[in-house]
């Protein structure tokens, strides 16, 4: 696979690993947060932690839009879709996320018309092909995904399609980072920045992290070499006492982002005054809603939303894990009351949530694989 396999080349990965070990000063402990759930997933999938020295610690950030979605929003979305002739369309990621009375797949088992879509455009297509039904697209994602939803809504409006709406849960990453950085128990030294969000918003929105909070940010791609190179770049800055925003993912991310995508979002969305993030609480200006010019396609403006609020059990320590203060296995519920199959808190709910990733991919001690190399 072009633009993929080259960035998985084993010899180069080994070299990058060596460079990291060379740079990691023996008397120092580096705490680096990878913001994006996609990075969390990649780190586990490629076993990158095995290549890092003990004193370079990766902490998983809040960039998992499924994890931070409050359960009440799922309940709201499902209760809207419980009407006659309704189709509930969502990405596969949402299908097993539990609401108070079950997940979308469980609702499907009980008779609701629930469809998995790969693209918001597919949801629009469903609406075109099913004129007698109403298709509600349950939208999630950060700024990576929001422009696609926005463009889809623009197309729906241009077509005058009446049987389509979006229940919008798009969130914005930088306010969550501010919440983490401003927290009194902040322990982080630097950030691996969200590469795909940055294809849209560019690198400029992270400047304040470097300038005000004095922490370096390296915007990173998602292949093993990308992530390792980003860690090299962070270690170099940290060792030199620098704090800058750097772009490691140049082949795809432009410093100014994608203006057309930003325009699309601007046309359709405005910021909510605040939005609840599961595990982090209410964060101002951190999520999108549809403008009144798109009221007809906004499930929240068109239908009556119950506005359910569901609080997580006090025992769940998601907030502390999200801020990197606790490791997943240190949460008192991890692996016992809270597992991927019966998730209690946010981070167990999606496969890229740090607790789920740790549970699925990494909770057993890694073995020595020297004889694996020999046996090949």
């Amino acid at each position: 696979m072009k633009f993929v396999d080259e960035f998985r080349a084993p010899e180069l990965i080994a070299k990058a690993g060596e460079e990291i070990r060379r740079l990691a000063a023996a008397n120092r402990h580096y705490r680096i947060m990878e913001v994006c759930g996609g990075h969390t997933h990649a780190i586990y999938r490629f076993g990158l932690k095995d290549l890092l020295p003990e004193n370079v610690e990766l902490i998983h950030g809040p960039g998992c839009p499924v994890c931070v979605l409050p359960m009440g929003r799922i309940d709201d979305g499902l209760s809207l879709a419980a009407q006659e002739n309704f189709i509930f369309a969502a990405f596969g990621d949402m299908m097993r996320v539990p609401g108070t009375h079950g997940s979308p797949l469980e609702y499907k088992a009980r008779g609701m018309d629930v469809r998995i879509v790969y693209s918001p455009a597919d949801a629009l297509k469903l609406a075109r092909n099913n004129p007698e039904k109403h298709v509600m697209f349950f939208a999630i994602g950060f700024e990576t995904t929001a422009p696609s939803t926005a463009l889809t809504l623009m197309r729906a409006k241009a077509e005058g399609l009446k049987n389509f709406s979006v229940f919008c849960n798009h969130i914005v990453i930088t306010p969550a980072l501010r919440a983490i950085i401003d927290a009194p128990d902040m322990v982080l030294d630097g950030f691996v920045g969200p590469g795909h969000v940055s294809t849209v918003i560019g690198c400029q929105p992270y400047q304040w992290i470097a300038e005000e909070a004095g922490k370096p940010v390296v915007v990173s791609g998602f292949e093993p070499l990308d992530i390792l190179q980003s860690i090299v770049m962070l270690l170099r800055q940290l060792n030199a006492g620098e704090a800058r925003v750097e772009n490691q993912y140049k082949r795809v991310v432009a410093w100014e982002g994608n203006p057309a995508a930003i325009r699309a979002m601007d046309e359709v969305f405005e910021l909510r005054s605040e939005f609840e993030w599961r595990g982090l609480g209410f964060i101002p200006q951190s999520a999108y809603q549809l403008r009144s010019s798109y009221a007809q396609w906004d499930a929240e403006q068109r239908f009556t939303v119950p506005g359910v609020r569901v609080t997580d059990p006090k025992a769940a320590q998601c907030g502390e894990v999200l801020r990197g203060v606790l490791k997943p296995a240190q949460c008192r519920l991890f692996g016992r009351e809270c597992t991927p199959e019966q998730p209690v808190g946010a981070l167990m709910v999606s496969s890229e949530g740090s607790c789920a990733a740790h549970y699925n991919y990494g909770h057993l001690k890694p073995i020595t694989i020297s004889s694996a190399a020999a046996a090949r």
Partner: protein, 352 residues
């Protein structure tokens, strides 16, 4: 009398607590296992413990006979590379083959949806006849039921197969040893991805087809040349290689390490999995099998497969270790490792 009472009491301890059946319970992963071990086993299998396998070898008047049953529920009924009828025959033959038996006869039940066009049924029955002939198995009988329109997705097929154990091989997870090799007959993911694409919801196209076929000739060659070293076999259908190997790991208590770069995957499967965020190790296969073979027999085993039509792509993809206990690990060439578990339900595409 006393024994029967005890067995009856033990048999009634249902550990399955879920209040309704979900799709996940049929997907072959953790939820399926919970249902089988928590509801079926206590009520049906009584005191006979032991790993639940695809096929059972039973004794009838001193003769060992292999018996299996399977059911086929697939949408769409026809897909590139095959159809439900072929799956039914090949799947049954394969279940018996990987238990170390040659299928002799299959009986078939059709559950047909009222309104199903006859020519569709005819095409399936033809396909089954042809598949049976290719597999060298007799279709000995069957049953038919028709259900109301709106049920059965066109048709469901169930089979029961009976076969003769192959000489020279004894399948048991308990015989698996540290150092044994994990053999895979060929590329994974073809069937599951073909079905996913054939459903049309994801708007993806690829030149892929289901790998449905009888693996009996390959198993026979393997047993002939390396039978003494074959500890265990499985056809990784729903749930994929990950599920089959996790079941083995749990049954034998040892660890299985897979070498990522050795696992054969076709381009189209890889592309679809990367695009949709799926792991090929979790995708269903209908024409491949896994075998655990003693290290000293591995070369003979591979040679036997390579020299049999259809076995050219067979490869060692891993080995059995002491650690991690009861789990499966994937190792990359550059020294990274990750756990691979069985899924709860069917693999779902993701965007995150």
């Amino acid at each position: 009398m006393h024994d029967e009472n005890n067995m009856a009491t033990a048999a009634r301890k249902i550990k399955f607590r879920e209040t309704q059946i979900e799709m996940a319970h049929g997907a072959g992963g953790k939820a399926s296992r919970r249902l089988v071990e928590g509801l079926f086993a206590p009520l049906l299998y009584g005191a006979s413990q032991g790993p639940l396998a695809d096929a059972a070898h039973i004794q009838i008047n001193g003769t060992r006979v292999a018996v299996t049953t399977d059911s086929f529920v697939v949408k769409p009924l026809r897909f590139p590379g095959g159809s439900i009828g072929e799956l039914a025959i090949n799947g049954t033959v394969n279940d018996l083959a990987v238990s170390g038996a040659k299928a002799e006869a299959i009986v078939v039940t059709f559950i047909l949806e009222a309104g199903l066009p006859t020519d569709i049924l005819e095409a399936e029955v033809r396909a089954m006849g042809q598949a049976a002939e290719r597999a060298g198995v007799v279709i000995a009988g069957g049953d038919t039921k028709v259900v109301e329109h709106g049920h059965a997705d066109g048709m469901y097929i169930t089979t029961a197969g009976i076969g003769r154990p192959l000489p020279g091989v004894e399948i048991s997870p308990r015989s698996v040893r540290v150092g044994d090799k994990v053999l895979l007959s060929g590329p994974i993911g073809d069937h599951g991805i073909t079905i996913l694409l054939a459903r049309g919801d994801l708007d993806l196209e690829a030149e892929l087809q289901s790998d449905t076929r009888s693996v009996l000739p390959l198993v026979q060659a393997l047993v002939r040349d390396a039978g003494a070293g074959v500890r265990w076999m499985r056809d990784p259908t729903r749930g994929g290689v990950a599920t089959s190997l996790n079941e083995l790991a749990r049954d034998c208590g040892l660890g299985i390490v897979l070498f990522e770069e050795k696992i054969p995957i076709r381009d189209g499967v890889r592309g679809a999995c990367e695009l949709l965020g799926l792991d090929p190790l979790h995708i269903a296969n209908e024409g491949q099998f896994l075998a655990i073979v003693g290290a000293e027999h591995a070369e003979a085993a591979l040679s036997a497969l390579h020299n049999t039509p259809g076995g050219e792509a067979a490869v060692v993809i891993g080995e059995v270790r002491e650690q991690p206990e009861s789990a499966v690990l994937v190792a990359t060439l550059y020294g990274g490792t990750r756990m691979v578990d069985m899924l709860v339900g069917d693999p779902l595409p993701r965007i995150c």
